[in-house]
Amino acid sequence: MAFLVNDDIVKTVPKTWADLQKSDYANAVALSGDPRVANQAIQSVFAAGLATNGGDTKTAGDAGLKYFAALNKAGNFVPVIGKAAPLAQGTTPIVTTWDYNALAWKDGFNGNPKAEVVVPSDAVVAGVYIQAISAYAPHLNAAKLWEEYLYSDEGQNLWLAGYCHPIRFNDLAKAGKIPADLLAKLPSADLYAKAVFPTLDEQAAAKAAVTKNWDSLVGANVK
């Protein structure tokens, strides 16, 4: 989970989740989805919680809600769903999103606006995507072959080209199978040294807490 920051609008780039609470960032911070629905947004809340409660993954969901309630009260939170366009236009100059999204959007800007990807140093949350094959699939073996491809060296490097850290990253790095130019484009590896992979239970607990309580605790309620 990272921040994408619009350098043209934001003067001091935030480095941590705690930074975002500062008054420099009034009307600046947005989530990249609806926290009642989208996993990306919920994980952002989780990450914020992790940063403020000292790394306790069990209560990170609730801590995250408190964080965003405070952020909203301070006037820093913008309820618009942050994507490339609102960031460029200026409504959501700071968006919390997965690093691969942030890097891809930054590439797409091509310098206009100038943007920066920041991996916050006080909490690094890793999200995992998986695939599943339906037992009722009409072409089961074709599906299995596809999965084989996704986890082959070639497939994993393709993920990397899209700025995603594939699961066999460490393995490939040790065997020297990653092209140097791809490696160069990624943020440096030590930023991810403390990455936390929440377990399924922790994720489920966070989801339940956030989706249920977002409106009552944080909801910029409708006047």
């Binding site: 994507k83 366009a85 460029a88 206009n112």
Partner: protein, 263 residues
């Protein structure tokens, strides 16, 4: 009344500001892709992308198919209801209200459950079948507008007399429909057709849930990941819809205004 005219202009001017303002903002943003001034780069990027060309032409194709199927369903029904079975009118009108009441997301979920691999009409198992399902979904969405257009068209021509005259000369029902009624309601039909097209071009929910790459899905994708191209796309789609509507207005000039009295 001089003051009346003044206020009309005031209201009109305020209306213009309200409606044109957001459009100008979108256009301005879409032209700002370069740091150093306005350019049409965003538009060029859009037109050159194969995904745009493919999804747009595909949407056009689906739109035309939806129009044809819609006409095949609506014209005979409207004709017969007007001519011979007016007691069915309330039922038909109720049916044409359904698409306005049911959220499209519900419709598509119903379709996925009903027409999947285990049903009597497995449409979702092949990509052609899914396209067919999409077309039928769009026919359903456009049904109220298509029916209203055809009905209005039939109202302005004297269906009874035309039918009688044609059948006296030996035409069967099919010939009457195709060669007598249809050409006379062509203008109304075209207006329904353009409305259908406008709906199809912009539609997103149903297509995305059926996983078909139509223009609406492409717009959504671009909107999530690019900064300036979505604004360009919004402008493009606005212009296209305006062109379609403009055609309706143009053609409406040629519509038969009154029913022909043959006495």
């Amino acid at each position: 009344m001089k003051s009346g005219k003044f206020w009309s202009w005031v209201i009109f001017a305020l209306g213009v500001i309200y409606f044109i303002g957001p459009l100008i903002a979108t256009i301005q943003f879409s032209l700002s892709i370069r740091r150093d001034g306005y350019s049409l780069d965003a538009y060029r990027n859009v037109f050159v992308t194969p995904a745009f060309q493919q999804s747009f032409s595909f949407s056009l194709l689906i739109g035309v198919a939806a129009i044809v199927v819609g006409l095949l369903i609506v014209v005979p029904a409207a004709y017969f209801v007007r001519l011979r079975a007016p007691q069915l009118r309330p039922i038909i009108e109720f049916i044409t209200l359904l698409p306005l009441i049911i959220p499209p997301i519900i419709l598509v979920f119903g379709y996925i459950r009903l027409y999947s691999s285990t049903s009597f009409l497995p449409l979702t198992t092949t990509s052609f079948g899914t396209d067919v399902l999409l077309i039928l979904a769009y026919v359903a969405l456009a049904l109220p507008y298509m029916y209203r257009a055809v009905d209005t068209g039939l109202r302005t021509i004297d269906v009874q007399t035309l039918t009688e005259a044609a059948s006296i000369m030996g035409a069967n029902t099919l010939t009457i429909l195709m060669q007598v009624i249809f050409p006379n309601i062509l203008v109304a039909v075209l207006s329904g057709a353009f409305l259908t097209l406008a709906i199809v071009i912009g539609e997103f929910t149903i297509a995305s849930l059926l996983n078909v790459q139509v223009f609406g899905v492409y717009m959504q994708n671009v909107g999530a990941n690019r900064a300036f191209e979505p604004a360009a796309l919004a402008v493009i789609s606005f212009i296209i819809t305006w062109a379609a509507m403009g055609m309706i207005q143009l053609l409406a000039r040629f519509a038969p205004r009154n029913a022909v009295r043959t006495d």
